[in-house]
């Protein structure tokens, strides 16, 4: 016979003011198998816990019910308390009589009646509780970072500095991401490359970091602490073990295609190092435009390479490695504004450029060596229009969210133009100016003092007249139509997640929202975790943000990874599914509904009458099962059950309520 103890908490007056706790205790004493029931002012306090422990000894209790606040609040507290007693920590049920009773009702009699019902249900359930033991699984002390932008680099450096092996997977031939494309960073006007390239070099040279460039994640299996990740390495056609990065090949290559790094302003050869400070600083061949690979002609690079590092027969390679934790840092892309905004020329005017293209124009190592000139004719622009919120905050055409960084970089662009081109005019069309950061508002104030003219309103049309771009828009503060004749237009286009984020998220089992940003486990309290254990996130894959926020988040994600990898093994929740294999018919419905692929069909020896046979039955992987219980509700024979929430326990609760 079970000997149940019921402990009813006053929670000061939080519960006692609305619920007659003594009446609840008196009612509880009448429930079957209740050996002892009492009340106390604060059950979670040290004297409260001591009283429970004493009562367990004095009344020889073997399971307890605590009627108090939500189990989400103190279930863990009381489980920990039970660890020091003869009772298993899972022989405990909490009746929620605060959040879901005392706090939401005013009628004392009815609230007391409800509290009694909650205790009755908990008593019925605890009677069928069974001792559960946690098991442990070993942790692979290595981390995988997906994405080699500033977020991924920072997270990798922090984890590697703590002494763990880290692999960075980057789909481009070099790490660095968007930050290394930028010229200056607001509001301090630091040279972006000067502060990001040392980090790239550190990551490349760190003894604990392995760079896997031109690579993508192909497949992810396993679970927290024990992921098995297959990485796809695209053919580079250059043996990086032999190559010294002398760069002779790219000077001789006859092919010229638009440079991705320079955002299409300027060209690059088919065999190329993406940019001067690339890490690794070794070339790859672009198979889509190389004459040798597309038409079997040329072959100059092979001839000029002094080290015979060129290999036209290179193929895609796959490697599988084990990791304990994964950080998603896949970053952002700019929206394809040309498709969304045909009224801005839809891409047919060379002098209508994006903010990122302007960064390359104004950068000293960019295609124009830092001279701000029109891409169309190479002339210096005198009148520049900056259009903000192109795609952002536009529910009809683009995204409803704010891209967060554009107000500041537009102010920075205005500042740079006014600084570099004496006598120039900058007009900024804006909806609102949002400057929520340290030193941001001051920077915006300075830009206006420099002479940037802010016009509140959207641009409705951009068209060409002679060599001028005519921008028609509205000044909503004056309530007037305005027309600006510009030499160049810069669009502050919206950020959106990396194109293949849905694919990556699907492989990792993490969720993305309607705008495809990766969803964090809790928007406020677990901002760098995902719902999948062992998978963390940082940077703009989670939402638009600027560099300081990205770096801070990368550090936070790294701290979470370190906390996980610091353990040799981890405890798993024992409240998971288990199969009664003697009853299982092997139908496999549970296998289909399991979101974690935790159930598989296995062959076990069985008996058919006197005959020995091989039976197909379901088997639960305790490391993978997260305890949702979907399988238990699906099972036709009722042979799968969820420990801690068994069919029998829930039916007992239902019965208790209806008595």
């Amino acid at each position: 016979m079970a000997r149940i103890g019921v402990f009813i908490c006053h929670c000061g007056t939080n519960i006692a003011a609305t619920v007659d706790v003594e009446a609840v205790a008196a009612a509880a004493r009448e429930f079957p198998n209740v050996a002892f029931a009492t009340t106390y002012k604060y059950m979670c306090s040290e004297p409260g816990q001591a009283m429970i422990k004493e009562s367990i000894e004095d009344y020889n209790l073997d399971r307890i019910v605590i009627a108090s606040c939500s189990p989400r609040m103190h279930e863990l507290t009381f489980r920990k308390m039970l660890k020091g007693t003869k009772i298993n920590p899972y022989m405990l049920e909490i009746a929620n009589i605060r959040e879901q009773c005392a706090w939401v009702h005013t009628d004392r009699a009815k609230a007391t009646e409800k509290a009694i019902d909650h205790v009755k249900m908990a008593v019925a359930k605890v009677g069928k509780d069974k001792p559960l033991t946690t098991s442990t699984i070993p942790i692979t002390k290595r981390a995988l970072v997906i994405g080699g932008g500033i977020a991924g680099i920072q997270a990798a450096l922090d984890i590697a500095d703590a002494g763990f092996d880290v692999t960075i997977v980057e789909k481009e031939p070099s790490i660095g991401g968007h930050m290394v494309m930028l010229d200056k960073t607001f509001p301090t006007m630091d040279c972006s490359a000067c502060i990001s390239t040392p980090k790239m070099v550190d990551a490349g040279a760190h003894p604990n970091i392995t760079l896997k460039t031109s690579c993508e994640v192909e497949k992810v299996e396993g679970y927290v602490g024990n992921f098995e990740v297959t990485i796809k390495e695209k053919a580079k056609y250059v043996n990086h073990d032999l190559c010294t990065g002398c760069g002779l090949c790219q000077t001789k290559c006859p092919t010229k295609v638009p440079s991705e790094f320079n955002q299409g302003i300027g060209t690059r050869p088919a065999i190329y190092i993406p940019f001067a400070q690339a890490v690794p600083s070794k070339p790859v061949i672009d198979p889509t435009c190389c004459l040798k690979l597309t038409k079997d002609k040329c072959g100059i690079c092979e001839k000029v390479c002094p080290l015979q590092a060129i290999n036209y027969k290179d193929e895609t390679k796959y490697t599988t490695e084990k990791y304990g934790a994964i950080v998603v840092a896949t970053g952002y892309e700019l929206v394809d504004w040309a498709k969304m905004y045909p009224e801005y020329g839809g891409g047919k005017y060379a002098d209508v450029i994006t903010g990122l293209q302007f960064e390359r124009l104004v950068n000293a190592s960019g295609p124009t060596e830092g001279h701000i000139v029109r891409p169309s004719d190479g002339k210096e622009p005198k009148d520049v229009v900056i259009v903000k919120c192109v795609g952002s905050r536009d529910q009809n055409k683009g995204k409803s969210y704010c891209s967060r960084a554009c107000c500041m970089y537009s102010a920075k662009h205005a500042h740079q133009i006014l600084d570099k081109i004496p006598g120039s005019n900058v007009y900024i069309f804006y909806m609102d100016v949002r400057t929520p950061g340290k030193g941001y508002e001051e920077f915006y104030d300075n830009t206006r003092a420099d002479g940037a003219q802010y016009i509140r309103g959207r641009v409705s049309k951009i068209f060409k007249e002679g060599d001028k771009l005519i921008c028609k828009g509205e000044d909503t503060l004056l309530g007037k139509q305005v027309t600006v004749e510009a030499d160049m237009v810069i669009l502050a286009t919206a950020m959106e997640p990396a194109a293949n984020i849905a694919d990556v998220a699907g492989k990792l089992g993490i969720s993305i929202d309607s705008d495809r940003w990766v969803t964090e486990a809790h928007p406020k309290l677990r901002p760098v975790e995902t719902q999948t254990g062992g998978v963390f996130l940082c940077g703009t894959c989670q939402g638009p943000k600027d560099i300081p926020d990205t770096v801070a988040q990368a550090g936070a994600a790294a701290a979470k990874v370190m906390a996980l990898l610091n353990h040799d093994e981890m405890e798993t929740s024992p409240m998971i599914s288990s199969v009664d294999q003697t009853k299982c018919s092997g139908c496999g419905y549970c296998v289909e509904v399991c979101p974690y692929k935790a159930i598989s069909l296995i062959q076990v020896p069985g008996r058919d009458g006197n005959r020995k046979v091989t039976k197909t039955v379901a088997d639960v992987n305790s490391g993978l099962c997260q305890g949702c219980g979907c399988c238990a509700a699906t099972c036709r024979t009722g042979c799968i059950d969820l420990k801690g929430y068994t069919n029998e326990q829930i039916l007992k609760e239902v019965d208790a309520l209806c008595q």
Partner: protein, 151 residues
């Protein structure tokens, strides 16, 4: 049918709430001191997909007047896909119950997230009023358990 005329009659409503969304939302309603009818009792389950249709039949058998199954919004399931199964299972369940003469208002599935305390309050208040208007459930209920029935 003497019970139906009794103005003090309170229905017995059972709500299965998933631990991650609706149970959290119900806790938040408490934290915000929102008020709703006392006649709803919550059973906490890890996921709405844990709710076996058998539980619902048992509740009606034992004299429950209404049953609610609440979980995360489809697409936001803590366990990725659990509530898609809940949704399909209970659309069917509701039709089965209706076929058996149980008003579909007596069995409802609702999606309430952990931040939607007001939605929890409103849902519970509405369902409670609806079931109160319907009167006691007599279908399936074992005679022993019907209020006002012969023992």
């Amino acid at each position: 049918m003497s019970v139906k005329t009794n103005e003090n009659w309170e229905p017995k409503i059972l709500a299965f709430c998933c631990n991650w969304c609706t149970y959290t939302g119900a806790d938040l309603a408490g934290l915000n001191r929102m008020k709703y009818p006392e006649n709803v009792r919550v059973i906490r389950v890890p996921c709405s997909s844990r709710v076996n249709p058998q539980f619902i039949l048992r509740a009606f058998q034992k004299g429950c007047d209404g049953v609610l199954v609440c979980g995360c919004h489809p697409g936001d399931c803590h366990y990725a896909t659990g509530n898609y199964f809940t949704r399909r299972r209970f659309m069917l369940m509701q039709r089965l119950l209706e076929y058996n003469g149980i008003d579909p208002k007596r069995f409802q599935a609702k999606w309430i997230s952990g931040s939607e305390a007001a939605k929890f309050r409103d849902t519970v208040t509405k369902v409670s009023a609806e079931i109160k208007a319907l009167g006691p459930n007599t279908k399936f209920a074992e005679p022993h358990f019907t209020e006002g029935g012969d023992k």
